[in-house]
């Protein structure tokens, strides 16, 4: 099969995407496909017209690749693609939309309030911040609505931290959310479609190695976080996490594969969904491949399954 691997692009997650893309290309070649690598830029449509792929493997992360933009183009051009469709991508990429959908569907997600930059600039939303802080209670996590990596995520411990945290988050998006901080364990449930039915893979837990981080981002630095898969969880909790993640997957309309991030609150043992990632990383250190591996699904087979889910006629390698 002639498959175009779309990677790179202009998002802040370009480097991760290039790594994901390169691994996907290797796997597809080993699976016997004809691979065309496309670093997504201004000539994307021209390249797709010239290459005429039978399928596009979208290995893009962040803006354009994960928010439905590229998917829309592919759908217009009649090129089937891996992963979720336009609407699911739009819903998952926008944390605010996703969280509203979850709340409406009674899926637990930490309390939050979201504001656009214009709300502050033109509607005096700053006056409402004390009320927001009262409702959410400190510490509060401030994040851009549409940024996939840890960039721009700040941790406000006092009211004085909030304005600069907002300024930082607005560096990435015109919309930001303030979210109640859930203290507890950081879990990721990866999901892949198996013969048309989504299946949750073993849960990965991110365990911080040290607690003396000076900002929120440091938690994600190499050497500061250890990933455990399968996470050491009691069976009922693991089952509940998988079930909630599958609910989110269905709610947002994801297909092919995705990852859902949750917190297991230490105090209450309650699970809260933070977000869903429509195109999770596929690098050596990414969580989805780790989870698949723990389920006995090697990388090539994982990629084969993602392709099969997108192009049902293709045999899984």
């Amino acid at each position: 099969m002639r498959i175009a691997v779309l990677k790179g692009g202009r998002s802040l997650e370009r480097q991760v995407s290039l790594k994901s893309g390169a691994r996907v290309e290797d796997a597809l070649e080993r699976l016997g496909h004809h691979v065309v690598a496309i670093d997504v830029g201004a000539d994307l449509v021209d390249q797709l017209i010239a290459e005429r792929p039978e399928l596009a493997f979208v290995a893009l992360h962040g803006r354009d690749g994960e928010d439905g933009t590229v998917q829309e183009l592919l759908e217009v051009m009649g090129i089937p693609h891996t992963g979720s469709g336009v609407s699911a991508c739009i819903r998952a990429a926008d944390k605010v939309l996703a969280k509203h959908a979850m709340r409406d569907a009674a899926i637990p997600t930490p309390d939050f309030h979201a504001f656009s930059e214009t709300a502050f600039r033109e509607l005096g939303a700053a006056q409402a911040l004390p009320a927001v802080e009262d409702r959410l209670q400190f510490p509060i996590v401030v994040k851009p609505a549409g940024q996939g990596s840890a960039l721009g995520i700040k941790f406000a411990r006092t009211p004085a931290d909030v304005p600069s945290a907002l300024v930082a988050a607005f560096s990435y998006d015109r919309k930001v959310l303030l979210e109640r901080y859930v203290a507890g364990r950081d879990l990721a449930v990866s999901i892949i479609d198996e013969h048309g039915t989504p299946r949750a893979l073993p849960i990965v837990e991110a365990v911080p190695e040290q607690e003396d981080f000076y900002d929120f981002e440091s938690r994600y630095e190499i050497g500061r976080t250890r990933f455990v898969c399968p996470a050491e969880l009691d069976e009922p909790i693991a089952a509940r996490a998988a079930s909630v993640a599958l609910d989110v997957y269905a709610l947002l309309g994801c297909s092919g594969f995705a990852r859902v991030d949750l917190m297991l609150e230490a105090e209450s043992d309650e699970l809260y969904v933070l977000e869903a990632d429509a195109i999770p990383g596929l690098t050596e250190t990414s969580l989805l491949p780790q989870a698949a591996d723990a389920a006995g699904i090697g990388f090539d087979e994982l990629i084969g399954r993602i392709v099969a889910a997108a192009a049902p006629g293709v045999t899984v390698a």
């Binding site: 480097q15 502050f120 560096s171 073993p202 190499i222 898969c229 591996d293 389920a295 990388f299």
Partner: protein
């Protein structure tokens, strides 16, 4: 959904390829020192600064486009005609005599004397830092350096698992009073730094120059306490105003490991630098270099020596000084024009960098993400610290792009800074103009210099008033 992975028919044959197994396997092999790496998010951001459509004020690049292509061709022909076989061969670890003579000439231009046997030719100045660490550091040993320090030294210090202690700078360079108190404090803990790392001239990234008084102080402290000082002087000959100050080595050779490079006066592409150090240290560094790369490129060494024979090498440096001075002035003017009043920046008398500091509520790593949307880039200040400081500062390079691009680049950065200052004012109800600027970064020299002369004077005025001092945070790197 517990720990028990479901079985799969192909699991056994696939497992050797598996990511988790690879991570586990290689993870167990990696040395401790590989674990101290910079944030991947920051690295990913920095990679974006190299895009073609980005005006990058982030690099530390000299402008090699000013070197005439025909000179390059003729020098390479000379190398081919006169020394082809030798240029293609290994050369002595310590470097070719011909190159050492060139080095001695360059050092003479800064009033230093070095005999051939005192010089070790290296693969760029960066290798000197590496060799000094390799020669002197055991894991956990203390290195004292400036705050901020050269961002390229941070990964080297970290790779040797140094405990990096940063000493605040002000307009006169490293604060020697703080240096002494830091050394006292370390001594009380029974610790002695293996060396002090400093860039006295046109500091990268701070853009300030160590005053003569401080130079004497550093040399005195080193001598009294018998401490080695690594004096990194890549930019000394790129002075755009004021009078040259003596290098630390020219004040006292005994405890100084001197490092410099051809990168800024000829080409970084030749990858040639050098060091002069006390004889026993130099001998160990030579052994270290042997183990690292046997010798620096023979081709480059013959190229450099042919270049020095072809005419006065100072002419090209003078042409660079003219170009860079204009670019610096353009950047300073643009900063005065386009940066909001809450910003401050240094006024470098030479070198390649200006260090700008914004109000502490602006995080320059996040600002870079925003600036990249407008296709412009700089280095976030945090890269120059090991302890998370520098969050609201940025390094701006003025040598790598032309004057129009500098103007446009600063205009774009100024716009996003202004946007954030205004937003902060809206969020706090203070308005950007009324809020007193509170800062946490150590090097801020001039706030809103309206004219160069005034700034210049202020920068030069001998002052003993210390800049803001931060309690030193210690962190094992």
């Amino acid at each position: 959904m517990t720990g028990e992975p479901p079985t799969h028919p192909q699991a056994t044959s696939r497992r050797p390829r598996s990511a988790a197994r690879d991570i586990e396997r290689y993870g167990a092999l990696f040395a401790e020192r590989t674990k101290v790496m910079k944030s991947s998010a920051m690295r990913d951001l920095m990679a974006l600064t190299e895009r073609d459509d980005v005006i990058s004020l982030a690099g530390g690049l000299p402008d090699t486009s000013t070197f005439p292509a025909d000179s390059y061709a003729s020098l390479m022909s000379t190398v081919a005609a006169n020394s082809c076989a030798r240029a293609l061969q290994y050369s002595p670890t310590e470097g070719l005599s011909a190159v050492k003579r060139c080095i001695a000439e360059v050092m003479r231009a800064e009033d230093m004397h070095a005999d051939e046997d005192e010089i070790l030719v290296t693969t760029g100045g960066q290798q000197v830092i590496d060799l000094v660490c390799k020669t002197l550091l055991d894991p956990g040993d203390v290195v004292v350096c400036e705050a901020p320090t050269y961002p390229g030294a941070v990964p080297t210090f970290c790779a040797y698992q140094a405990d990096v202690v940063q000493v605040t700078m002000d307009r006169d360079g490293m604060r020697t009073d703080e240096l002494e108190s830091t050394l006292d404090e370390l001594e009380r803990d029974g610790r002695t730094p293996k060396f002090i790392y400093t860039v006295p001239n046109f500091h990268n990234p701070a853009g300030v120059t160590m005053s003569l008084e401080r130079r004497h102080e550093v040399v005195r402290i080193a001598s009294e306490r018998e401490l080695l000082v690594l004096e990194d002087n890549p930019y000394g000959l790129l002075r755009y105003e004021g009078s040259p100050l003596p290098t630390l080595r020219s004040l006292d050779e005994e405890f100084i490991i001197y490092a410099s490079t051809f990168s800024k006066i000829l080409s970084p592409g030749v990858r040639l630098g050098w060091t002069c150090a006390p004889a026993p240290v130099l001998a160990k560094m030579n052994l270290g270099k042997q183990a690292s790369d046997l010798c620096s490129s023979s081709i480059s060494q013959y190229f450099v020596s042919a270049y020095f024979e072809s005419g006065p090498w100072e002419n090209y440096v003078r042409s660079l000084i003219e170009i860079y001075r204009r670019r610096r002035d353009v950047m300073l003017d643009a900063l005065a024009e386009d940066f909001p009043r809450e910003a401050e920046w240094t006024h470098p008398e030479g070198g390649l960098f200006i260090w700008a500091t914004l109000p502490d509520y602006i995080d320059t790593t996040d600002l870079l993400a925003r600036a990249l949307e407008d296709h412009v880039a700089f280095v976030p200040g945090r890269a120059a610290f090991v302890d998370g400081r520098g969050g609201s500062s940025m390094r701006l390079n003025f040598s790598g792009v032309d004057e129009d691009l500098i103007r446009e680049g600063i205009r774009r950065i100024g716009e996003v800074v202004r946007e954030q200052v205004e937003l902060y004012g809206t969020l706090t109800g203070t308005g950007p103009a009324t809020r007193p600027a509170v800062r946490r970064d150590p090097v801020r020299v001039e706030a809103r210099p309206g004219a160069h002369d005034a700034t210049h004077e202020a920068t030069h005025a001998p002052t003993h008033e210390p800049a803001n001092i931060l309690p030193l945070r210690r962190k094992r790197a």
